[in-house]
Amino acid sequence: MTIKRREFLGRMAAGSAILTVPGFLTSCGIQQATAVADPTPENPFMSWFGVDQATVARVMSELTASGADAADLYFQHSRSNSLSLEDGIVSKASSNIQQGVGLRVVIGEQTGYAFTEDMTLPSMLAAARTASAIASGSRAVAPQAFAPKDMGGLYTTTVPWADVGIDQKLPVLKFIEEKAKALDPAVEKVSVFWNDGDERVMIATLDGNLITDHRPMTRATVLVTAKKGDEVQSGYSNIAAREEFGWYTEERLTRMVQEAVDRTMILFDARRPPAGEMPVILASGASGILLHEAIGHGMEADFNRKGVSIYSDMMGKKVAEPFVTVVDQASSPRERGSLNYDDEGNKAGRTVMVEDGILKSYLHDQISAKQYDLKPTGSGRRQSYKFAPMPRMTCTFMEDGPHTKEEIIAAVDHGIICETYTNGQVQIGAGDYTFYVKNGWLVEGGKVTAPIKDVNIIGNGPESLKRITMVANDARLDTGGWTCGKNGQSVPVSQGIPTVLVSNMTVGGENAS
């Protein structure tokens, strides 16, 4: 218990020392783990960031000296660690500490923003004055004290990453490599990349709330290069979650490695499908990329309050068949996109964007919610203290429908199945979106016939939604390490979907006539 009363910044150094020294100190780390790590801190000001409540109140007062409809201080301390294995050895480690406070003033639709990495009073006051320059009114009433809210429990850990030594992680990387080599003699090179990290945020708002969140994150990636004769192919797989070390079971790791090897070996037999329009079956899981690009971004309310999204005038209208329901759900536990609170301090939860085919709700941050006279949906996110928040997705998925995967495949005479993806993109206004299919299959006469590879698929969001003619009952969230980029800010997200049929999309391919 003593550890909790120590200044957080000091504790990070201590915890990290445990991380670095494989020997006697590691056992000390395990002892610590007997207590549940990170309950809502009794005094997050001091224990996490080394500032007192009066200081935060003083900075808030300076920040809102020229007026504010809303204002917040976003304190963040994150430490991420990475390891990489190449050519049989783990010979590179990296760490990154990001610490700072972002200060924001909102007046109507106007935002003033500044941040500082130096958490002393003079530096925070100077940043507050810079951010407040957007406003020119009279002083807002700033709180003298902040009421802490309960920390959410979506991803509590028993052992924080700071207490996991390199000596514990190293064998995991070795295991992944050896497994990959053992699975197929054609595997020539294996690279393994490991990431883990702890992030603490504390958000103090103008209306006197104080939100704290401890957000763990980890990701393991394996890259495989295989050779047959003169032909070289490579593929990869990764898994990610807001999880702790114990999540990496042998079974989970083996599944990831098997996937990477399978995806690589199939490329030797895969070809490009013919170019043009055809029915497209999206396999369950990672195909949630369709939702992310075809509708998710278009539903972020900043694009709608400006009228620039193709979905701006569709609220309440039918956009898909009645068996289509699309949800953004930050409250999915332990997923990469999970969040207890968003980065404005609003409770993050479940937002139904499309319910039984009807467009129901945008994803709101405070600014857009105010403009639409609605409650925020807890969708205000930011990459770090260096950025102002904006509406973003978290875990986006489609719920189960009435069909089966087998029925869907049997219904396609000539088309493709898309299975794994590398990336996607969308134009919010035109609604045109794309995703890149790394692996998939040809479907001919209702049967899966041959593997395909490396095609971009392009469609139009609202048109594709209308063309979802079948939805199976096998919905699942993908555990891949997806990151979403928007206006220069990256945030972790999750996505999922059951097997679905889109009756017509444009498939990149060869032998165009």
Binding site: V21, I89, D118, D432, Y436
Partner: protein
């Protein structure tokens, strides 16, 4: 400021040495960034920030690791560096991990790259607002405009590096960019969107803000009534802006790491006539006021012009010191700088006239390429080329092929290098390209 940063970098190297590191490299950086965004006639966002960070690379007991922090509190810095050394020791030894050989620091160029414009630091609110207003008015001058966002982004970047084997250096540059993104009412629920941004190290080099706003509007107007193009094999003309990004994708696996790891279609191409003899690409870090100009790279290797492709023959790839040692290749530089492309002598209009029929690509949408095989498939927007002229706008199309083959099919280059990218690419013409659409 640079003196302060330099001292801090040297101090970090000393700390690492005294914690037991054999060698160390440290870089401190500082930036001031100001952002003004204006939407539909009103100021929407002002962001003004100063950021600092320290990065340390540690070589100890034949092992290596790299660490970064924004916490520069001097009381905690010692602990941070000590820990960095301890982490390094927990890894496996790697005979190829060594600090950059001091010979590679020699002959560092001293020419004035002219990357600092003193007026950037003294830009005031009024000037930024004036640009925003000019951009805003010009980019909204059409009845179809739903919304336009104009932005001004400027700042100063400073960094200093020091190493245990004698490297000391600092670099400073300024930047100032502005432009607009425009959304127009199109048919049905659709909105046409595009934009245009210009910038550079010097304020004096910027085009007139109103002209930039007008270009943003014109580019967007040309997207109105865009439809899905055909599935066809035909000639592709890529405009200079889109060419810069295509060349970037093409050159991405041209490095020692990808080659040594067996994940590059550039493996074994050095010395080969691998691409069209029309193509010459030079990596040139010494261009005055260049967007990626420098005197040394991130490992301290002194900057020099590096031919990558000469008349289709691969001359060099990007080789850093680690993968160079591991893959038995002489280091060039691991980090691309400016890319100069030897130009053709025709304008874009002349190229289109020569081509007659085909697809003219103005931007990409998503897509990817397999670095190992070169297979690619990209979404695109553009126009049909009809009778040698820019015809109807098309979108919702893909172009698919293999990058190695594609750059063998490069037929012509324009004389119109795109100035607002680190790849100074002209318009490019490729034959026999697979498009998928309707």
């Amino acid at each position: 400021m640079p003196a302060d940063l330099k001292q801090q970098a040297q101090q970090a190297v000393e700390l690492a040495k005294s914690a037991g590191a054999k060698d160390a490299w440290a870089t401190t950086s500082q930036s001031r960034d100001v952002e003004f965004e204006y939407r539909d006639g009103a100021l929407e966002k002002v962001k003004d920030t100063t950021s600092r960070s320290l990065a340390v690379q540690v070589y100890a007991d034949g092992r290596y690791s790299t660490h970064q922090t924004t916490d520069l509190n001097p009381e905690r810095l010692g602990g941070f560096v000590k820990e960095a050394v301890a982490i390094t020791r927990a890894l496996e030894p790697d005979e190829y991990r060594e600090i950059t050989a001091a010979e590679l620091f020699a002959n560092r160029p001293e020419n004035d790259l002219d990357l600092v414009d003193g007026t950037v630091a003294s830009l005031d609110r009024e000037q930024r607002l004036e640009w925003c207003e000019a951009l805003d008015v010009a980019s909204r001058a059409h009845e179809r405009v739903i919304s336009a966002t104009a932005g001004v982004y400027d700042g100063t970047q400073l960094s200093a590096s020091a190493s245990s084997n004698g490297f000391v250096g600092s670099q400073e540059s300024t930047y100032c960019w502005f432009g607009s993104s425009v959304t127009l009412k199109d048919h049905g629920d659709k909105r046409a969107e595009d934009g245009f941004y210009a910038g550079g190290a010097h304020v004096a080099d910027l085009p007139d803000a109103a002209n930039v706003g007008r270009t943003a509007l014109e580019r967007t107007l040309s997207r109105l009534d865009s439809e899905k193009g055909p599935t066809v094999k035909t000639t592709m003309v890529v405009d200079a802006r889109a060419s810069a990004s295509l060349l970037g994708r093409f050159l991405r696996p041209a490095n020692a790491r990808s080659v040594q790891q067996g994940r590059s279609f550039w493996a074994a191409l050095v010395g080969e006539q691998a691409f069209s003899d029309k193509l010459t690409v030079i990596d040139d870090p010494l261009i005055k006021r260049g967007l990626a100009s420098r005197h040394y790279d991130g490992e301290g290797i002194s900057a020099r012009a590096l031919p990558i492709i000469e008349n289709g023959v691969v001359k060099n790839i990007y080789v850093d010191t680690y993968y160079g040692r591991k893959g038995d290749m002489a280091p060039t530089t691991g980090t691309p700088s400016n890319r100069r492309i030897v130009l053709g002598d025709q304008s874009l209009q002349q190229l289109l006239g020569d081509v007659g029929e085909g697809v003219y690509v103005t931007s990409w949408l998503g897509g990817n390429a397999d670095a190992t095989t070169g297979d690619f498939s990209l979404g695109l927007r553009g126009h049909m080329i009809e009778n040698g002229l820019v015809g109807r706008p098309v979108g919702e199309m893909n172009v698919t092929g293999n990058l190695r083959d594609l750059f063998g099919q490069l037929e012509m280059l324009g004389n119109d290098p795109y100035p607002y990218s680190t790849t100074l690419a002209p318009s490019l013409v490729f034959t026999d390209v697979d498009f998928s659409g309707a």
